[in-house]
């Protein structure tokens, strides 16, 4: 038998969480290494899921409840794997745990944030608002524990520590390195939104009212920067005339050569957010192919097609500019059939930005091999199993499915040695 009954799971997003609870419920010891101060990953940032239009926090709540009721799961947040040594059944995983500056005595009373004089860009909301340097990542965060962004603190300030009645703040915390013995490792680091500013002609970062699809999720969420009101960045105007540009970076050899799977369905979903919030709004979606494979997915497309105020146009966006006076967005579109170009004006434009596997930039784990576009090659190393979007761009259902399937491989590793 393996020396260790432990499965290390790198990443606490939906894939990692699924693998963690599933393995723990099969009586394995599980250690989750999450780089954020909270679990839930990208899913936590979503307003709703396609195609059911239900809130992702519903499923997260169940996963968290399963963890709370299972002593077999140990979680490290703000932690990153630095190296994995050894072989299947007997890995040594070294993990750097960064300080939270807040310990488990925190009760989430908010006193530290109220006392804190400094602000930081809210990364959870893609910088669309600010939080105090002492902050709770979001209102349904797990663990329900504040965190202090020391890089944003005022020099020598300890207002938070003074305000805390619970001895929960320790500004002297230092990074630690821990070593974990594990029989199997599941890699579930997920994906990052592709940097849209690299796509020159789409003018992200240059035209104020061009945002990305992940920003749109935050903009639509009740715990987002606008409490769910879809308004544009330049002047807070209600967005009644909006365009979505599909394949922003995806299916493009200069950016992401693959299809990111989720963007067509995500834009259809976001079109429905706008249509629900503003019944007099109009939505335009520019696409190459509408990729909604499957049962419900296809029905979801039909639902959008049945709305006369959602227009789907097969066309390529050649360029995006700003009307300097109104800050409206001017989109130049090439008709795919005739080749003619037209210019159209919108209140705001959402770029359907693709998925870049986290392993494109995070390849500290040396003993597995990576494909040219950054995915982990499956089966590269016995006992280490990449899941979900590290193998192939997929949605939440397929991530959960894949994470579950990786657990049986992990169990096989534990018993093989």
């Amino acid at each position: 038998m393996a020396e260790s009954n432990t499965v290390v799971i790198i990443g606490g997003g939906f894939s990692g969480l699924t693998a963690a609870v599933e393995a723990a419920e099969a009586e394995k010891d599980v250690i989750v290494i999450e780089k954020n101060p909270y679990l839930g990953g990208r899913v936590a940032q979503l307003n709703k899921y396609f195609w059911k239009l239900c809130p992702p926090t519903c499923g997260l709540e169940i996963q968290f409840k399963r963890i709370k009721n299972n002593a077999g799961v140990k979680i490290y947040t703000l932690a990153e794997v630095q190296d994995i040594k050894g072989e299947e059944g007997n890995f040594d995983v070294s993990v750097k745990v960064n300080p939270r500056y807040v310990n488990e005595k925190c009760v989430a009373c908010d006193a530290c944030a109220q006392a804190c004089p400094s602000y930081r860009d809210n990364t959870f909301n893609f910088g669309m608002d600010k939080t105090k340097a002492a902050y709770l990542p979001f209102n349904q965060a797990f663990p329900m524990q504040y965190v202090i962004d020391r890089n944003s603190c005022a020099p020598n300030c300890k207002a938070c520590a003074d305000a805390c009645k619970y001895n929960a703040i320790d500004l002297s915390m230092k990074p630690e390195t821990i070593n974990i013995k594990a029989g199997a490792v599941i890699m579930a680091m997920g994906w990052n939104p592709y940097d849209a500013s690299k796509i020159d002609n789409l003018s992200f970062g240059k035209v104020q009212n061009v945002i990305t699809n992940m920003m749109m999720e935050r903009l639509s969420a009740p715990n987002g920067p606008t409490q769910g009101k879809i308004i544009r960045p330049s002047d807070g105007k209600e967005v009644k005339n909006i365009a979505f540009v599909q394949c922003a970076g995806s299916r493009d050899e200069n950016h992401l050569p693959f299809c990111s799977y989720i963007c067509c369905l995500a834009s259809l979903k976001q079109a429905m957010y706008v249509r629900e919030q503003y019944p007099d709004s109009k939505v335009r979606i520019f696409y190459i192919d509408l990729r909604t494979p499957g049962l419900y997915e296809h029905r979801f497309l039909k639902k959008a097609m049945d709305d006369p105020d959602i227009t789907l146009t097969k066309g390529k966006v050649a360029g995006i500019n700003e009307d300097p006076e109104t800050k409206d967005v001017i989109v130049e579109v090439e008709d795919i059939f005739s080749g003619s170009k037209t210019k159209l004006k919108f209140d705001m434009v959402v770029l359907a930005t693709g998925m870049e596997p986290a392993t494109k930039t995070f390849q500290t784990i040396k003993n597995v091999s990576y494909t040219s576009d950054g995915f982990v090659d499956t089966g590269a190393k016995k006992g280490i199993y990449p899941v979900g979007t590290l193998k192939n761009p997929v949605d939440v259902v397929r991530s959960a499915q894949d994470a579950t399937s990786a657990v049986i491989k992990g169990i096989q590793s534990l018993r093989r040695i």
Partner: protein
């Protein structure tokens, strides 16, 4: 258990500032009651632990924060614990130091104490002689992979295949699409199905039954008796859990005559094309004259994305046609493959496969609306299409036409038949008998001997696939211990089906593990309580057997229910359904909740008091989140969590109103299509029962508006306080319940 009570009240997080703790503690009579500034601190926890050690305290009421937080701190194994949510439900959501807030805190505390008085520590119900063998039904790629994965994880596997040989559809394929990177690789590779078959057949822990069917599946997880029939003989096998991997059938191509199928021999389906390629060992010899086809047109979405045929997309056909285009191209430099599509759907890294096709000058790809397929003489065919990238109207000539026909799950026919039977049953016995006589009965797969029917029930909008309703939990079916995998679950390609099979095999293993410990499976995967009905008082009304979302309750010949406990998910729907109130869990029963409600009294005849029965999975966290944002809720309302709103028993409403409470609010999940209930239809059933509340109210001569059901999602914490407050205002307008004080 002999109980020694202890009540511990936390003063931290504003509780001490918002509530008069001394006055609150005075409500606790005849038991240890202690307060602490920060109960979750090591000192606070130690206070409780010391009492457990020295005083033998084992029934603990913790009045502090929400039970959703500080779970590690307030975990005392071996003790009965009740958390009273003074922080979120009282001080964070109400004005401090006011009579109504104080009264609220006192009511919550008394309810908590009542619950712990009535409740008891559960013991798991572990059934004997459990089997840990996994049955895999279907010997295609999904089924064989499920079998191998489970066997390699240390389990015995029984694999049942209806055909004389293993392999399923893969046997008919010429080649498959490679996985991994597509560059510098052959674009078509061997399926290696023979190797997989050999691995299965030679595996010491896999027993294969070919030419076999499941005649009957009786019992429950861990204790299934599955009768397998093979060539007239049959054998009954003990089984722990089941993987359903019976796959799919191609759509009936005779219905595609509008695309020329049946009119010309040279119009074939994608599956038939595989067989042609396989037979010719790569050479495409067309059916009509055996001539090598050098110009082949592929019509995508043949009968798919079409309300008249299959209203969905089968996901795998675009990539399949791109693969088959390679068959056309591989032997002939001048051969042409034409792919006519609505949208090319090659999601993820399959895009790179598509790119390879685009880079091949012999593969012509265009979006097109097909207008017709007609005879061009000599066995050739014309394809007329509109709105293409090659022109508005085009006419192409091809040697052969391949129709990319879709997938139909093997579960569809049985489901349609059974749904028809149910519908006929609602029209009376005569209609049912007529249906049975006149409708051809399709072949069933599982043949479950369950009260609720022999197969996995249909799911609205799943078109007969045995899929999960949940995005987060893809393996959930409504039959505990039975997990679907591969093409029977959802349209998917072979590579996805392999992984899916591994996932389903794992869930089967996990289920076996849970029943061996007497623990529920998903979502209450920690719960060792179980329903224990007092059958002596059962009137055989059958409501529990009909309403159980998981078919966990069967009936004997007299109609008396009996639980198959390993099928049960512990949602308490049966408890809510039972008019005799006889279904109880050790820590959750009609009496426990009813007694909690009875502790609430209005201080005078004018003060409004309302109870809210709340789904603990969605509405409860939404209330906590609203409190975190310090949203105010009217102090007239007392929240009582339920495992699921499906556990709501009407007697609570009748009791509450007849005792003078002014209203009852029910907070459950969204129901209907796209329902969000983790127990399938809890809030919908509550709503159905709620429809009968009118009678009770009429009897009491009370206004119907006093009782209301709201559908709330977990993310609606921003709206929920207003929804509740508006409801309270309406009750206040109606005025106090005239039964107050009686």
């Amino acid at each position: 258990m002999e109980k020694k009570y202890g009540v511990y009240i936390c003063k931290g997080c504003g509780i001490g500032e918002g509530v008069n703790i001394e006055k609150l503690a005075n409500n606790v009579k005849g038991m240890v009651c202690k307060t602490h500034d920060i109960l979750c601190s090591p000192e606070g926890i130690n206070l409780i632990k010391e009492d457990m050690k020295n005083e033998g305290v084992n029934a603990i009421t913790i009045a502090a924060c929400s039970p959703r937080v500080k779970t590690e701190e307030f975990d005392f194994p071996g003790a009965l614990i009740e958390r009273v949510n003074l922080r979120e439900f009282v001080v964070w959501s109400h004005e401090p130091n006011n009579e109504e807030t104080q009264s609220l805190a006192e009511d919550y505390l008394l309810m908590g104490i009542e619950k712990i008085k009535k409740g008891d520590l559960p013991e798991p119900n572990i059934l004997q002689d459990l089997s840990s063998t996994i049955l895999v039904i279907g010997g295609g790629v999904s089924g064989m992979n499920a079998a191998i994965e489970a066997a390699n994880a240390g389990y015995k596997v029984v694999l049942v295949e209806k055909e004389a040989q293993l392999g399923g559809f893969a046997n008919r394929l010429y080649k498959k699409i490679p996985t991994g990177e597509y560059f510098n690789k052959p674009l078509i590779v061997d399926t290696d199905i023979d190797k997989l078959i050999k691995e299965v057949e030679s595996h010491p822990d896999i027993k294969v039954y070919k030419s076999s069917k499941i005649e009957k599946t009786e019992g429950q997880p861990g204790l299934y008796d599955v009768t397998v029939s093979t060539n007239g003989g049959s054998e009954t096998i003990k089984i722990g859990a089941i993987v359903l991997a019976t796959g799919w059938k191609p759509y009936d191509a005779t219905k595609l005559d509008y695309l020329g199928y049946g009119k010309s021999q040279n119009v074939v389906t994608n599956i038939e094309f595989e067989e042609i390629a396989k037979k010719g060992n790569g050479k495409i010899l067309r059916p009509s004259d055996g001539k090598e086809a050098k110009k082949v047109a592929f019509i995508q979405c043949a009968g798919q994305r079409d309300q008249n045929h299959l209203p969905y997309c089968s996901s795998m056909c675009c990539a399949t046609s791109l693969k088959q285009a390679r068959y056309v191209r591989q032997n002939n430099k001048d051969a042409v493959a034409m792919v006519l599509y609505k949208d090319i759907r090659t999601p993820g890294r399959l895009e790179l496969y598509y790119k390879e096709a685009q880079n091949d000058p012999g593969v012509m790809l265009t979006k097109a609306e097909i207008k017709g397929v007609s005879d061009a003489g000599n066995g050739n065919l014309f394809i007329e299409a509109e709105n293409t990238l090659l022109g508005e109207k085009i006419k192409l000539e091809a040697d052969m036409v391949v129709l990319a026909a879709g997938m139909i799950p093997t579960t569809r026919e049985p489901q349609e038949y059974l749904d028809g039977l149910t519908l006929a049953g609602t029209k009376g016995d005569e209609a049912k008998a007529k249906y049975i006589e006149e409708t051809p009965k399709p072949e069933f797969i599982l043949n479950l001997s369950y009260r609720q029917g022999p197969e996995i029930p249909s799911l609205e909008g799943a078109y007969g696939f045995a899929d999960s309703n949940f995005i987060c939990f893809p393996y959930e079916t409504r039959r505990t211990g039975i997990y679907a995998a591969g093409g029977v679950r959802r349209p998917m390609d072979m590579s996805e089906a392999q992984d899916d099979a591994a996932g389903a095999a794992f869930k089967a293993i996990q289920c076996i593990d849970h029943v061996s410990r007497g623990v529920a499976v998903h979502p209450r995967a920690w719960d060792i309580t179980f329903p224990d009905p007092l059958l002596i008082r059962c009137t055989s009304c059958k409501r529990c057997t009909e309403e159980c979302p998981f078919g966990a309750i069967d009936e004997d010949e007299k109609g008396t229910p009996f639980y198959k406990i390993n099928r049960c998910r512990r949602c308490g729907t049966c408890m809510g359904a039972c008019p005799e109130r006889i279904v109880s869990f050790k820590d959750y029963s009609v009496d426990i909740i009813g007694s909690m409600i009875k502790t609430i009294e209005s201080p005078d005849e004018e003060t409004i008091r309302i109870i809210a029965l709340v789904c603990e999975n969605d509405a409860y966290p939404a209330l906590d989140t609203a409190a975190l944002q310090r949203k105010k809720i009217d102090p007239a309302v007392r929240f009582i969590p339920l495992r699921c709103l499906g556990g709501m028993n009407l007697v609570w409403i009748a009791d509450a109103l007849s005792r003078g409470l002014d209203g009852v609010l029910l907070l459950g999940c969204k129901f209907g299509e796209n329902y969000q209930c983790h127990f399938v239809k809890g809030s919908e059933l509550a709503n159905y029962r709620f429809g009968k509340v009118g009678e009770t109210l009429n009897k009491l001569q009370l206004e119907a508006e006093r009782v209301q059901l709201m559908q709330v999602a977990i993310a609606e914490y921003d709206k929920l306080p207003d929804m509740i407050n508006e409801y309270v205002e309406r009750v206040k307008e109606i005025g106090p319940n005239p039964f107050k004080g009686f």
